[in-house]
C-alpha cells in the first residue's frame, strides 16, 4: 500500500514502522531526513517548509508508482513530508519501504529520496540566528526547464538585408515559410534520387545483349547481362564497357603528379628555362590536353596542326553534346550570321509584260 502525506505535526517514526509491517516481508528500510543546525558558518534556528500541496501529493504518488514498476516486490511505501516550521534535529521527511528481501527496500528508498528532491514541489527557507537574512534553499537535483535551441528569439536580432529587385532571369525566387521550404527541398532531393536510381537501372541492367545495340553514352563501367546458357538454369555474364573518353577512366588521365615532378626536377639548377625547355613545357601541356581529349598526335605534326585537331575535337564534342554549350557564356545570337535580307521579286501580269515587250521593241 502507498502512504503519501504532507503533515503539519512532528513525524512519528514508530507509526511509520507500523505502516510497513507485513507478514511476508523480511526487510523494511526507513530514511529520515532531519534539519541541520548550521549552514556556511551560520547557526540555523529553524526551517520553514511550504508546498504546492496538490501537485506535491500528485508527484509523490508518481514516485510510488515508479518504485513499484522498478521494484515489483515492494509491499508498502511511505512518503511523509513535514510542512511549516521544523525546529533543528526534527524529521522533515520520512521515506520507507518494505519488501520480502532487503535489496529492493534499500535501493527503492534511496531512489525515492533523490526523486523527491528533484520533482516534488516543496521549498524550505532557512532561518538563521542573529542578523543573517533568511534564505530559500535550492536542491542541486531540482528540476529545471530545458532551454531548447529553437527557442532562440530571432526577432531580437534584426537582420538588415539589402533587397535588390533585379533578379537574374535564370534564378527562381520563392517566398515561403520554413516548413514549406524544407518540404520542397525534400521533394527535390527525392526526385533527384529517383532519377539517379532509374538511370542506374538503365545503365547497369540491360536487356539481353543481342537485342539492343551497345549503348555508347552510358556512364556505367560494367554492365551485367543475364543470358540463359545451355544446360543451365540461369547465368549472369558481366560485360565490361570501356568508356574511353569519360573522366572516370582514371588510368587514361594524364599523370599530373609525374608531370609536375618532371617540371620541378628540370627547374633545379637552372633559373632561366631555355628555349628547348619552354618548348617541352607547352609541349607537355598540349600533350596533356590531347590525351584527355583522346587524341594521339603524330610525331611529324607541327604545333598548328595539333591545335587545329584540338579545335576540331571541341567542335565535334559541342555538336554531339550541345547541352553543355550554354556553360560558355557566349550569346548564341551574336554568333549567328545576320539573317539575309528578304527581297521579293516583282511579279508582272500578262498585260504588263505585253506593255514591257512593246516598249523594248519600240526602242
Amino acid at each position: 500500500m502507498d502512504h503519501v502525506k504532507l503533515v503539519g505535526d512532528p513525524i512519528d517514526i514508530s507509526h511509520i514502522h507500523e505502516l510497513l509491517l507485513d507478514d511476508g516481508c523480511g526487510a523494511s528500510s526507513v530514511f529520515v531526513g532531519t534539519t541541520r543546525d548550521n549552514f556556511q558558518g551560520k547557526k540555523v534556528v529553524s526551517l520553514a517548509y511550504e508546498a504546492y500541496d496538490n501537485m506535491a501529493i500528485k508527484e509523490m504518488n508518481k514516485i510510488c508508482s515508479d518504485l513499484r514498476s522498478k521494484w515489483p516486490g515492494l509491499k508498502h511505501i511511505v512518503i511523509h513530508h513535514r510542512l511549516g516550521t521544523v525546529p533543528v534535529r526534527e524529521a522533515s521527511v520520512v521515506i520507507a519501504a518494505s519488501s520480502p528481501h532487503r535489496s529492493e527496500a534499500l535501493e527503492s528508498v534511496s531512489f525515492a529520496i533523490d526523486q523527491l528532491k528533484t520533482r516534488v514541489p516543496i521549498w524550505k527557507k532557512e532561518i538563521y540566528e542573529g542578523d543573517h537574512e533568511a534564505e530559500w534553499k535550492e536542491n542541486k537535483e531540482s528540476i529545471r526547464a530545458k532551454q531548447s535551441l529553437s527557442s532562440f528569439n530571432y526577432s531580437a536580432c534584426p537582420c538588415q538585408v539589402e533587397e535588390s529587385h533585379e533578379v537574374p532571369q535564370k534564378l527562381v525566387q520563392i517566398r515561403v515559410n520554413d516548413a514549406e521550404l524544407s518540404k520542397r527541398l525534400e521533394c527535390f532531393v527525392n526526385r533527384k534520387r529517383d532519377e539517379i536510381n532509374s538511370q542506374n537501372i538503365i545503365d547497369f541492367k540491360h536487356p539481353p545483349a543481342d537485342s539492343v545495340p551497345e549503348l555508347s553514352d552510358s556512364c556505367a563501367r560494367t554492365q551485367s547481362t543475364v543470358i540463359k546458357q545451355e544446360k543451365s538454369n540461369c547465368h549472369i555474364k558481366v560485360r565490361r564497357v570501356n568508356n574511353r573518353s569519360f573522366p572516370q577512366q582514371m588510368e587514361l588521365r594524364p599523370n599530373y603528379e609525374l608531370e609536375l615532378n618532371k617540371l620541378m626536377g628540370s627547374r633545379d639548377g637552372q633559373n632561366e628555362p631555355s628555349v628547348k625547355m619552354r618548348k617541352s613545357l607547352y609541349d607537355s601541356r598540349l600533350l596533356t590536353i590531347e590525351s584527355y581529349m583522346g587524341l594521339a598526335p603524330k610525331s611529324e605534326d607541327d604545333i598548328f596542326s595539333r591545335i587545329k585537331t584540338l579545335e576540331d575535337r571541341i567542335l565535334l564534342l559541342e555538336s554531339i553534346s550541345p547541352e553543355y554549350k550554354h556553360f560558355t557564356n557566349i550569346e548564341p545570337s551574336s554568333l549567328e550570321p545576320p539573317a539575309p535580307k528578304k527581297t521579293r521579286k516583282k511579279s508582272y501580269s500578262a498585260h504588263e509584260l505585253g506593255m514591257l515587250i512593246e516598249k523594248i521593241k519600240n526602242e
Binding site: Y52, A56, K58, V93, W123, K125, W136, S142, I143, R144
Partner: protein, 90 residues
C-alpha cells in the same frame, strides 16, 4: 496581458522566492489560449517582477511541469499555472 487571438483567464500561483517577489501567493491573469512556454514565462517575469530569478523558474500547468520551454501550451478558462523556483524539499 496583451496578445493576439483568443484570451483566457487563468489562476497563477506563486511559491517560495517567487511568492515573495510577486508579493502575492496567487493572482488571476489573462493569457493567450495558445502560447509558447518561454514567451509566457517572459510575460509573467515582467508583470510580477521576477527578473532576478527568471533563469531558474519552471512553470507547471494544471499540476504538471512544463519541462521544455519551447513547448506550446494550450490554456482553457480557469486553468492553474504555477511559477516554481528551484525546489528544496527533503
Amino acid at each position: 496581458m496583451s496578445a493576439d487571438g483568443p484570451v483566457v483567464n487563468v489562476h497563477v500561483l506563486f511559491f517560495a522566492k517567487s511568492r515573495e517577489l510577486a508579493q502575492t501567493p496567487r493572482s488571476k491573469v489573462d493569457v493567450p489560449s495558445q502560447i509558447v512556454a518561454s514567451d509566457l514565462l517572459d510575460q509573467l517575469v515582467t508583470r510580477f517582477d521576477l527578473a532576478s530569478i527568471k533563469d531558474n523558474l519552471i512553470l507547471a500547468h494544471n499540476e504538471s511541469y512544463i519541462e521544455n520551454l519551447s513547448d506550446k501550451i494550450l490554456f482553457r478558462e480557469g486553468d492553474e499555472l504555477a511559477v516554481i523556483p528551484p525546489l528544496s524539499g527533503g
